[in-house]
């Protein structure tokens, strides 16, 4: 009798595990998040800054508690170099907390822990460039650290290039952050 009970318990547990794993496998998928990142302002002082909060993005909201991994991250944006010299664009990201208020300028400058994600993207004097999602992948570095930052859902973007406040020497517009993630529905 004891043996039968034990067998029944083990079989029940196995079935529950199978059902759980099966549900997880069936409900999981790969989803793409497209988040607007407001690049469209010129450098203030020596760097750009913009806070990003994925809360409110419907795809993120649907999956944020069940994300298995970030598969890939890329960008899409336009660059206009209005200066008379070749300019280099660099972008860094760092996990953040608190409300994402674009008017709350970081007085401490670029944090030392910011992860360099785009570097060495040069645009000739007077030139412009559209960087597509696929092209952006060729400029991304430190991908794994970047994924960890994205997983937090709240992070800040910092950028450097030519120009200072209000001179419009180097302008980035139509910025989009493209996140491909694997997860399941809530």
């Amino acid at each position: 009798m004891k043996k039968r009970t034990l067998t029944f318990a083990i079989l029940s547990l196995a079935l529950l595990c199978l059902a759980g794993v099966g549900c997880k496998l069936i409900m999981s998928g790969t989803f793409v998040i497209v988040e607007e990142v407001e690049f469209s302002f010129t450098a203030d002082g020596s760097f750009y800054w913009y806070p990003v909060d994925l809360t409110g993005n419907s795809v993120w909201e649907d999956h944020k508690d069940n994300i298995d991994r970030i598969d890939m991250i890329g960008f899409s944006f336009d660059i206009q170099n209005n200066s008379t010299e070749t300019c280099e664009f660099n972008a860094m990201f760092v996990a953040a907390t608190g409300p994402a208020d674009p008017s709350d300028w970081p007085t401490g400058g670029i944090p030392s822990g910011a992860v360099s994600v785009i570097s060495g993207l040069t645009v000739p004097a007077g030139g412009s460039e559209t960087v597509t999602y696929g092209e952006s992948l060729g400029h991304i570095s430190n991908l794994e650290a970047f994924k960890d930052i994205i997983m937090t859902g709240r992070f800040d973007y910092y950028g450097t290039s030519c120009g200072v406040t209000g001179d419009s020497l180097f302008v980035v517009t139509d910025g989009l952050l493209v996140i491909t993630l694997s997860g399941s529905e809530d």
């Binding site: 999981s28 998928g29 790969t30 992948l137 989009l176 493209v178």
Partner: protein, 187 residues
């Protein structure tokens, strides 16, 4: 690629080497079809090709070591973004079990298929920043075979693939049509 060709070659040679056996129990097969991603926003339907050796283990069970190559398509755009990256490619090797009356000479023979194996997932567009990954997975489905001659049969099969992916799965549905050849007098 070279490694996969060698594996296919070995499987075919194994099957051929047994062809002279008194009771023929071996064969080879090939299928091609479409691979449809399931809940994968970043992929579109693509092609799949599968090579297999066939061993008749029991009257109702055929074992099929297999090697398959599939590639997804890519959406042209996603929410107005130009999606200029390739679809993923998957190279898989493993074993299928065919349960039912398949491969047994002339006539119509429905069957169930279940298998497992390893799936190498890569993407040419990502290769500069991310390596390919090989994951364990399994598959299941059903199909039917029609024996044309004692040696030749055609078959059609639908198989769902589940590739384990950090707690979840990459899933797809493969719709395949193929040709099988049995060495000797037929399986």
């Amino acid at each position: 690629m070279k490694k996969q060709v060698i594996i296919v070659g070995v499987l075919v040679m194994m099957a051929v080497s047994f062809a002279g056996a008194q009771t023929p129990k071996f064969g080879v097969g090939f299928s091609g079809g479409i691979n449809i991603p399931i809940i994968q926003d970043d992929q579109k339907s693509g092609s799949i090709f599968e090579f297999r050796a066939r061993f008749s283990a029991l009257p109702f069970l055929t074992i099929e070591p297999k090697l398959s190559f599939s590639s997804y398509g890519s959406p042209d755009t996603f929410e107005d973004i130009i999606w200029d990256v390739d679809g993923s490619k998957i190279t898989a090797y493993g074993v299928d079990g065919i349960l039912g009356g398949a491969l047994s000479g002339p006539g119509f023979a429905p069957f169930f298929v279940a298998g497992m194996g390893w799936y190498k997932i890569s993407n040419d567009s990502y290769e500069t920043i991310q390596d390919s990954e090989t994951k364990f997975g399994f598959s299941g489905g059903m199909g039917f075979a029609i024996g044309i001659t004692p040696k030749f049969s055609i078959d059609a099969r639908a198989k769902a693939h589940f590739i384990s992916w950090d707690g979840g799965a990459k899933k797809s549905l493969a719709l395949l049509g193929g040709l099988n050849y049995a060495f000797g007098g037929g399986i």
